[in-house]
């Protein structure tokens, strides 16, 4: 048994999980944190309040220069990093704002991944390098006004007209839609569901921005209107038919959320810890009260457990053994617990908890979206319910 003195206790990493990361993984995390600290953190509360990101194209290019966009993909100008490194990047991005992480998730895990995994060589060569560099922005159209958890019932249709494809329909809640240069759109065809690479300058394509959001306000959310959008034969993603196409992309993005949500939780937890140490009531800091300590410790426990789960799933993804049900498990747990951490942090900050002067209410409101998108709590519960019992409760 060793008797040497253990290293000092780190309140931000109570279980010492950092030991499980390599030096390069920490370097990736540090670079993303530095970019966020310089380019996002000083401005993001204002962006959230005004419902717009200043110079979003410039910011996207900086993310591209760092290597974040499509970072876990190989070739075509992508950085070729590990799943663990991708997860760490998502956590740092979302510690700044879920909207920023959404921009990166949609670009890399949905739009770029769809082209990278299911596209033709020409589609990959045309779109992936500029998307990796942040010079071209992508969006991903699956959800519709009347179709969410049951994408198989989508109404958007693509029909053949000679060699061409003609798309009609609407997509809803599409991140990056109004600023995108390219949209990956899923539509019903006579051959089942297929994906299309749609340049947003194509006649008949429009993407009005969705206003009045109280969540993800530092993120562009749009409707896609497809009105007889005529595309050449080679616009279709050739390598996939059926729901497997979009679901494979969602699985990638969900993995990023398993990590990202923890970023929002960490930011809120740190804000609460710092506030509780400074706020004095009844003659002492409120961090000295048992009720506050119970909250802080519970938040810290759930954050620690979520971090271990995320890291374990990432190691499995890097080893090629990660199953979609396991991603569901991670997304379900980590978003739910992160939202709870943000809500508890809100109570510790008292009235200040509802002010954008602190990051807490922003993260909390953002996570309401994250809880629903990329698979609702209900769907992930039912997927896991089916996996555990062998009986489907929804099909």
């Amino acid at each position: 048994m060793k008797t040497s003195t253990p290293p000092p206790f780190d309140p931000n990493d109570p279980a010492g999980i950092d030991d499980l990361l390599s030096a390069d993984e920490k370097a990736v995390r540090e670079s993303v944190r530095q970019l966020c600290a310089q380019r996002v953190d000083p401005y993001v509360a204002d962006w959230f309040e005004r419902g717009t990101i200043d110079d979003i194209r410039g910011l996207t290019k900086e993310l591209g220069s760092l290597g974040v966009l499509g970072m876990h993909l190989e070739g075509y100008g992508c950085a070729g990093m590990s799943a663990t490194e991708y997860g760490l990047a998502c956590l740092e991005l979302e510690a700044s704002d879920s909207g920023l992480r959404s921009l990166v998730s949609v670009q890399g895990s949905l739009a770029m991944f769809a082209i990278w995994r299911w596209g033709s060589e020409e589609q990959k060569t045309q779109w992936l390098p500029p998307m990796a560099a942040g010079e071209a922005i992508g969006c991903f159209g699956l959800t519709e006004p009347d179709v969410g958890s049951d994408p198989g019932s989508m109404r958007t249709r693509a029909r053949r007209d000679g060699d061409d494809w003609v798309l009609d329909g609407r997509k809803m809640w599409i991140t990056n839609g109004s600023i995108a240069d390219v949209a990956v759109v899923w539509a019903q065809t006579d051959e089942g569901i297929r994906g299309f690479v749609v340049p947003t300058t194509t006649p008949g394509f429009s993407a009005p921005e969705i206003k009045h959001k109280q969540s993800l306000r530092a993120s562009v959310t749009s409707e896609l209107v497809l009105d007889a959008v005529r595309l050449p034969a080679d616009a279709v993603l050739p390598e996939v038919r059926g729901l497997k196409g979009p679901l494979s992309c969602l699985n990638e993005a969900r993995f990023g959320i398993v990590w990202g949500a923890l970023g929002a939780a960490r930011s809120s937890l740190q804000a609460a810890l710092s506030y509780a140490g400074e706020r004095t009531q009844f003659g002492r800091p409120i961090s000295g009260f048992q009720l506050t300590q119970a909250k802080l410790v519970d938040m810290s426990l759930e954050y620690t457990k979520g971090s271990l789960l995320a890291l374990h799933l990432a190691r499995r993804k890097d080893a090629g053994t990660l199953r979609p049900e396991q991603v569901c498990l991670g997304k379900l747990n980590n978003v739910r617990e992160s939202l709870e951490i943000c809500r508890t942090a809100r109570t510790i900050l008292g009235a200040n908890g509802i002010s954008l002067e602190y990051p807490v209410i922003r993260h909390m409101n953002n996570l309401e979206s994250v809880l629903t998108y990329e698979g609702t709590v209900e769907m992930h519960t039912l997927v896991l319910g089916q996996a555990i019992t062998g009986q489907s409760a929804f099909r």
Binding site: T5, P7, P8, A23, D24, A27, V28, E30, S31, Q34, L35, S65, L66, G67, V68, M71, A79, G80, M81, E85
Partner: protein, 266 residues
């Protein structure tokens, strides 16, 4: 342009830093370390010079095994290769001995291709003595232009280095012929953070490891026993005393201004 940047691996200033109880040297084992932040400015400045023209940046460090992390960070930022001088006998070396090891290492680097410019930070964030750059220039017989807040290279390798050195009341402009040694302040640039491509590329960049024998230095010339200075004792900083209250007798503003000027806050 062949540039050597001297960097130091230091204990993280954010962490609790202590001394070894046995010999009063800095405890480097029980604290996370990193590339001295003041040296990041030196790395950045060297990278800017070669990116604007041509050439190669070699990062040089003297330190224990963990000091490889400082070289790695510089390589991730974009430096081309590293040299790590690591020898148990160096433990406890003072600034005089450190400058000797650095000088011999730079001479050895120069055997392959002449060194045109040596860039250092203005001081380390742990020792904060700030004397090594000048000692090093003296040993190498190079002009020392120190505390640069701006650096301009004219005429490439055979040209000149011109710096701005900011004083309290004036700024000096100093020009030296190359080869020269320049130390830079934290005002000179904004150090980049490594891109993912930089992090990946650094894994393949060469790092040479040299011991004292490779540099022809006798172990008796370095280390704690050879040090001209050593830490005799240390004590924790006393808790901050209560501030001075200046009553305003109509001249509060003047007193406040005098205080700020006296302490060089303005």
């Amino acid at each position: 342009m062949n540039i050597v940047v001297c960097v130091k691996y230091v204990p993280d200033a954010q962490a609790e830093r202590t001394f070894n109880a046995s010999d009063n040297t800095t405890d480097r084992d029980n604290v996370d370390g990193l590339l001295s932040e003041l040296d990041e400015y030196a790395v950045e400045e060297a990278l800017k010079i070669v990116e604007a023209g041509e050439g190669e940046v070699t990062v040089l460090t003297v330190g224990p095994a963990q000091a490889a992390d400082a070289i790695k960070k510089a390589l991730q930022m974009g430096a081309h290769k590293g040299v790590h001088v690591d020898d148990d006998a160096i433990h406890g070396s003072d600034a005089v001995a450190t400058s000797l090891v650095l000088a011999e290492a730079i001479k050895k680097i120069g055997n392959e291709a002449p060194v045109d410019l040596v860039v250092t930070g203005m001081a380390s964030t742990d020792g904060t003595m700030g004397v090594v750059p000048t000692m090093l220039a003296e040993r190498l017989g190079l002009p020392a232009v120190t505390f640069a807040s701006e650096l301009t290279i004219d005429g490439g390798a055979g040209g000149t280095a011109t710096i701005h050195r900011d004083g309290d009341a004036s700024t000096q402009t100093i020009t030296a012929t190359l080869p020269a040694l320049v130390s830079v302040t934290d005002q000179i640039n904004e150090p980049r953070y490594p891109s993912f491509k930089g992090i990946m590329a650094a894994k393949k960049k060469p790092v040479e490891k040299w011991a004292l024998a490779d540099l022809g230095i006798d172990p008796s010339q370095v280390g704690l026993d050879a040090a001209w200075t050593k830490v005799e004792a240390f004590a924790a900083r006393p808790p901050r005393s209560q501030g001075e209250i200046v009553p305003d007798e109509g001249d509060g503003g003047r007193k406040l201004a005098a205080f700020l000027t006296e302490h060089k806050f303005v």
